[in-house]
Symmetry: C2
Subunit: 352 residues, 2 copies
DNA sequence: CTGAAAGCGCTAACAA
DNA sequence: TTGTTAGCGCTTTCAG
């Protein structure tokens, strides 16, 4: 693979007829070097196929040069925890290359994110990873971080593509919906009547999931019908009430797709109406409290959005970017998984 | 998190009243140090909560101290390629810590593996990653590598747990079967009659997949019936013939689970008999030639065994083991994924 | 068996 | 603008 048997800064310096310091300055595009010498040094480096030794670089540069700010809701055992674990563990793996975490959690999604971002910006972070609760509101701050402070902002789980954020990592909401739809079409009888529960259609993510489900279900089950799209604002009482109404109004309902993590009240209502089994439920994501509903056959499947992997991927993109100079993709979409009873125990939320 | 503000070998040496060299020898359990000094040094290290700086270690030890042998069938665009890519890319990511790949491919599964292993053993590898075609036959050699040469042997995709291999990474075959069974039970009508295609039941992996499917299907579809378990020895002509026979003998067949990657001949035979759609096919793994069958609705789903991730995981386990001293788990089981038409484009075999 | 000293490849502080 | 030099924390000779 590798051609150059020995080509370090030393060799470059020798061939370009300059000193180590100059090579370093040229390589890093610092200002204290003349245009012409820089060109020459870079030419030699290119010719030699110079690959910096990251180990030596990290060692010489001293510890914790790359501080990464993390702004994620503090939870216990849920989605955002997994995201955070993925981030922190991956940063840990790269700590020897100087990665360091600055954890500034917010109490819950969308609360205090701006303040947390400001705090991080003051502490010399090179990147900020955040799960924006209201992406649009945060956009100006994201733009400021990116443009004024040269901080790479990575959105996780949710996105605002109109802001200047460097990249976003998520399962494409529309794909969530189409995958659920295809599965729903397969597991329900012919000409099935199904419904969707969502949070608020005003939220872009929610709306796109629903759109994906609607168009996917129509395609995969032409004889089927979507009889209701219920907005529950993720409030438990509202969910129960609307679910009960739905079950009463649609006695032959064959399936429900819940596009948020709010499946518990739906499942309980279904059981209370003795509709378990007849109404196939496809949920979203995973947490221990949902396990009994899988076991009792209330939840047929769940669309899993790989929170841990989202966090891990974010860090890997940053490592490639900062350490290898790789460009950041505009967005990175992960492949969701389907959870059934059989593979349930292997997901990290359940395995412990 | 971290207590010790400064505790390197230097500090240990100072506190233990010895020199750097002695600390190093003690820390690495080399022989040229007296029992008593070593104890003392280790005690100080423990007390200080000493964590070696991997960067400095890699830099000082020089490049490529940890050579990893890779013995995997050479393919184009298939399962083992993905495994190999996962391994090589992850080794690349850790090259700065001294990881180096020694790639000794075999022409096909089970051919020349012993010779390849012997070659690697002579080239001073610290670990061997292999996908054993006939695990039992290789066992003595694996034992020799582990015990005589102190080489960590990691089995991928397939396992021989009776050998002395350090660990094995795979999707548990039984889980493959039960997951396919649960899905089959959901997507077929009540009291469905289904069949299984496998390679050879004499192969442990194949047998366990079938067992998983049989018991899972009985549990999830008590009224259903498994009308045939077909051994096709993964030979195309045999597969076609037996599949045609099956379709003729079982005109009301509702589903086929193919537990090997040999789905193409089955799908083609089904289409030739105009049975597409009526017979739901659940396949195993993924490759581009299968895509049209997904699109035409012949293959309803596939159980994906994450070949790339298997390779990547193997390397990560080795990194943790060699660099952090973590014990290797006896086996590492990955969570299989379900491929549907909707998420098909996101798998790396298809995305390119 | 132990100590002293010379780097690994790179960055950064200080001179020139 | 450029060159020189001293390390980063560890391993590894080579003497003692």
């Amino acid at each position: 693979m590798d051609r150059p048997s020995k080509s370090g800064v030393r060799e470059i310096a020798r061939r370009a007829g300059v000193s180590l310091g100059t090579v370093d300055r040229a390589l890093h595009g610092r200002q204290e070097v003349s245009e012409v010498t820089r060109e020459r040094v870079l030419a030699v480096a290119r010719e030699l196929g110079y690959q910096p030794n990251l180990t030596a670089r990290a060692l010489a540069a001293g510890k914790s040069t790359i501080r990464i700010g993390i702004c994620i809701p503090r939870e216990i055992r849920f989605f955002y925890d997994q995201v955070r674990d993925g981030i922190l563990e991956e940063i840990q793996r790269y700590s020897h290359l100087g990665l360091e975490a600055l954890y500034e959690p917010v109490p819950s999604l969308g609360v205090g994110e701006a303040a947390a971002m400001r705090r991080m910006m003051k502490q010399d972070v090179r990147a900020i990873l955040l799960t924006p609760g209201h992406p649009a509101q945060l956009a100006p701050l994201i733009d400021e971080a990116e443009k004024k402070h040269n901080i790479r902002v990575v959105c996780l789980a949710s996105d605002d593509s109109t802001s200047a954020r460097s990249t976003a990592i998520s399962v494409e909401p529309r794909l969530n919906g189409t995958l659920a739809a295809e599965l729903m079409a397969r597991i329900t009888p012919h000409a099935a009547r199904v419904a969707v529960f969502t949070g608020m259609l005003a939220t872009e993510d929610h709306a796109r999931k629903v759109q994906g489900f609607v168009s996917g279900f129509q395609r995969e089950s032409p004889a089927g019908q979507i009889v209701a799209v219920v907005e529950d604002h993720q409030e438990e009482r509202q969910t129960r009430r609307k679910c009960a109404q739905l079950l009463k109004a649609q006695p032959d309902l064959a399936g429900i797709y819940i596009s948020t993590a709010n499946c518990l009240p739906v499942c309980e209502t279904i059981e209370a109406h003795s509709a378990a089994g007849r109404v196939r439920v496809i949920a979203t994501d995973l947490f221990v409290d949902a396990v009994p509903f899988f076991q009792r056959g209330v939840i047929a499947a769940s669309i899993y959005q790989h929170p841990y992997l989202q966090g891990q991927t974010a860090v890997r993109l940053l490592v490639d970017h900062f350490l290898q100079g790789a460009p950041m993709p505009n967005a990175h979409y992960l492949n969701p998984s389907i959870v059934l009873k059989a593979n349930l125990p292997l997901f990290r939320e359940i395995a412990g």
